[in-house]
Symmetry: C2
Subunit: 145 residues, 2 copies
DNA sequence: CGTAACTCATTACCTATGCTAAGGAAAACC
DNA sequence: GGTTTTCCTTAGCATAGGTAATGAGTTACG
């Protein structure tokens, strides 16, 4: 594992935490569809990546409690972005699948997000941006740990 | 500026957004002092870095609306972590200063945060961690842009 | 000067989004 | 076959943010 005991790493940790929190708050405001919360967007993204999933699986992946996921899935279904089907072998569970409409929305949202981040990146040079690009997968891994 | 038009960067942008959001959610739960919200912590951090500031300045820096900052400052004052003084030249404004107690708490919290992130970093190798460390300042810059 | 317009902080109220606790149905396990 | 466990859900609550409206203080302009 990495050694986090000396000062530079402690500083990095603090910078990371602070930046992630603030950036997260700003990203919330840049939602592509005003009627969709950040977590709802994130769920659609997860479904696009992983295909179908049960509410429980989604709750674990999004680090949210099951009751919260129940509501999120219900809202997504009401908006026609997700389909709910009975589970094949286990009748307690349900299977959540994103619709074609969700795919289209994700594509649209990707464009808008990029536009916003492009504006943000005006203030970054190529070197800074490449550091960010290199760190993106690591942050993802960390978020899933 | 960086070129965000091709696919790799679009992917990086998506990964970044998703990871920042999820990591932010998990960091919220790892608060060092249960009685302090993440934004309250962030305000104390800002004060430690920048010295005194008015509520309005803090609201802008934390990307929060003024009324929210009013409440945050009031809570911090009630906990003895912040001192409120009248502004020298402008009697509309107030000056917020962190107390010695806040400094001690920040130091304590830094230790606890590091412990948590150390546990997280168990799953990272040295290369991944160094990428993260390189990106930390860039993320901070982005968060402040 | 004095009043109009603006700015800063605050108050009051509302909403969004998460949580815990509790329940009901299906599966798994003696 | 009855008990325990697992999964989703319902109900109620807490937190943390936002908007709109208020009040006090400052600045600008006529």
């Amino acid at each position: 594992m990495a050694d986090l005991s000396h000062g530079d790493d402690a500083d990095a940790v603090n910078a990371l935490r602070s930046a992630v929190m603030r950036l997260g708050r700003r990203l919330k405001h840049q939602r592509v569809d005003e009627t969709l919360s950040p977590t709802e967007m994130s769920v659609l993204g997860t479904l696009a990546r992983c295909g179908s999933a049960t509410p429980g699986e989604l709750a674990r992946k999004e680090h949210v409690q099951p009751p919260s996921m129940t509501r999120i899935v219900a809202l997504l279904e009401a908006k026609g972005l997700v389909r709910l089907e009975p589970h094949a072998e286990d009748r307690r569970q349900k299977v959540v699948t994103s619709t074609e409409r969700a795919e289209a929305m994700l594509e649209e949202s990707r464009r808008k997000r990029n536009a916003w981040l492009t504006a943000m990146a005006e203030g970054l040079d190529e070197d800074e941006w490449s550091k960010l690009r290199a760190a993106a997968p690591v942050l993802e891994k960390l978020a899933h740990l």
